[in-house]
């Protein structure tokens, strides 16, 4: 199974990885992205949704999404 699918994620942004025992905290936008990645959405789709759902999301929101995805890679979660 996908590593992302195995994570335990709660609504406050507490994330637990049962494979390694690592815990993480995500803020609201981080959690928003994480949940959509887990649903299999693409970075572009997620960037569009962020713009719609969040006040004053910047133009370069897709840069933030890709930065976040890179971060997940450094955690070996993707």
């Amino acid at each position: 199974m996908d590593r992302l699918q195995k994570l335990a994620v709660n609504s406050e942004g507490f994330v637990f990885d049962p494979t390694t025992g690592d815990s993480f905290t995500a803020n609201s936008t981080g959690l928003f992205i994480l949940n959509r990645l887990r649903e299999g959405k693409s970075a572009d789709e997620i960037a569009e949704e962020l713009k719609k759902d969040f006040e004053n999301a910047p133009e370069e929101v897709s840069k933030d999404v890709s930065d976040f995805v890179t971060h997940l890679h450094t955690y070996n979660l993707m």
Binding site: A8, F16, S23, A26, G30, D53, V61, H71, L72
Partner: protein
Amino acid sequence: MIKKYEKPVMLKIETGMMNKFGSSPYYTRKVRTEIDGVKIDDLVNEHGSPLFVFSESTLRQRYKQLYNVFSTRYPNIAFGWSYKTNYLPAICNILHQEGAIAEVVSEMEYDKARLAGIPGDKIIFNGPYKSISALEKAVSEGALVNIDHFDEIYDLEKVAKNLDRKIKVGMRLNMDTGIYPQWTRFGFNLESGQAMDAVKRIVNGGKLILNGLHCHVGTFILDPNAYALEVEKMTGLMYDLESKFNIKLEYLDIGGGFPSKSKLKGTYQSPDTLIPSIDEYAEAISTALYRNLKGGHMPQVYLETGRGIIDEAGFLITSIVTSKRLPDGRKAYVADAGINLLYTAFWYKYTIETDRELQGTNEPSMINGPLCMNIDVIEEGTLLPPMEKGVRLILSPVGAYNVTQWMQFIEYRPAVVLIGPNKTVDLIREREDLSDIIRREKVPERLKIKA
């Protein structure tokens, strides 16, 4: 609702403790108000806290399950109850009622089995130290003695001489089955040729009749294939002995070692994913038996399963007596049970249930015992909701090894109860009191304090 945008972040929690969590914090809030239908409250009001509680139905079910899984695959199988795992007589007798013989590793355990009414020929006597008088008693009562080392061969020859007859013996082996650490301190090593030397010595002595092989590869063995390898090597040696010395063995004793559904420290998967089912062990063992035994040959096979039978039938109820905030931010609770009662705390992470619903956010918590020693930790770090003094925790599984390896250190050992059919609760070991502690102590007259 439109939310405010922030840069997305996800940070690893690096408190050193948080990333040691063995289980998801969302599973830690477990409530248990009863065991087998008997209220935790009633148990504690009647018998005090801490309190060990055993479930007779779980124990019988587990034994039956193991017996069925093995005997349907290989009929000539029997279990020897590993006394050291739990030798409370009520527990042993349940297993004897279910059909288990006894497996003992000391004279004290041997005497306990005899006292319970188990005849010598239903006792397997293992272990690295058996005194000559213990050997003589066991042999004359017909026990299955598995030799551990060369000196024991000599001792048993002396016993044979004293009894003026040849005696049947088994022999313990140790071997490489891919398990680390390899238990090489017990029995004779197979690969180095030591086992063959021991057999030659037995044959040349002319007083002992080798009739069985024994091996116990270790405990909490997570790889069923280790047993397949063990069986292959044991049967290989058995037929080797037959062709070289015309020795016909009656039994193969493949020891214990199946894991229980408990969580080992340092593992992150739940026991349900990590631990193979008992069917997988039975399949590996029976397949190896049929692959290696000659057609139609069905020697008696013994298993000495301990932990795998009893662990999940045992619970410990303990009460929170206080809590404090540690300088590193953690909440530290003191419970009335510690490592004095929970020897297995050194390698298990127990399931922790509370006796009531609790409000508040989970926070990193540790649970310590009453021993006034830094090592007295029964849970290093888990997420728990805030707990008041008086909240009771139910720890499990604790049925294996704890009520034999517990120590009497600064506290009395608690009562042990058994929940039987129809919610009957029987006291199977009374709580100790001062008289138990001082009964064997002597004060020389000159040291007595005079009023």
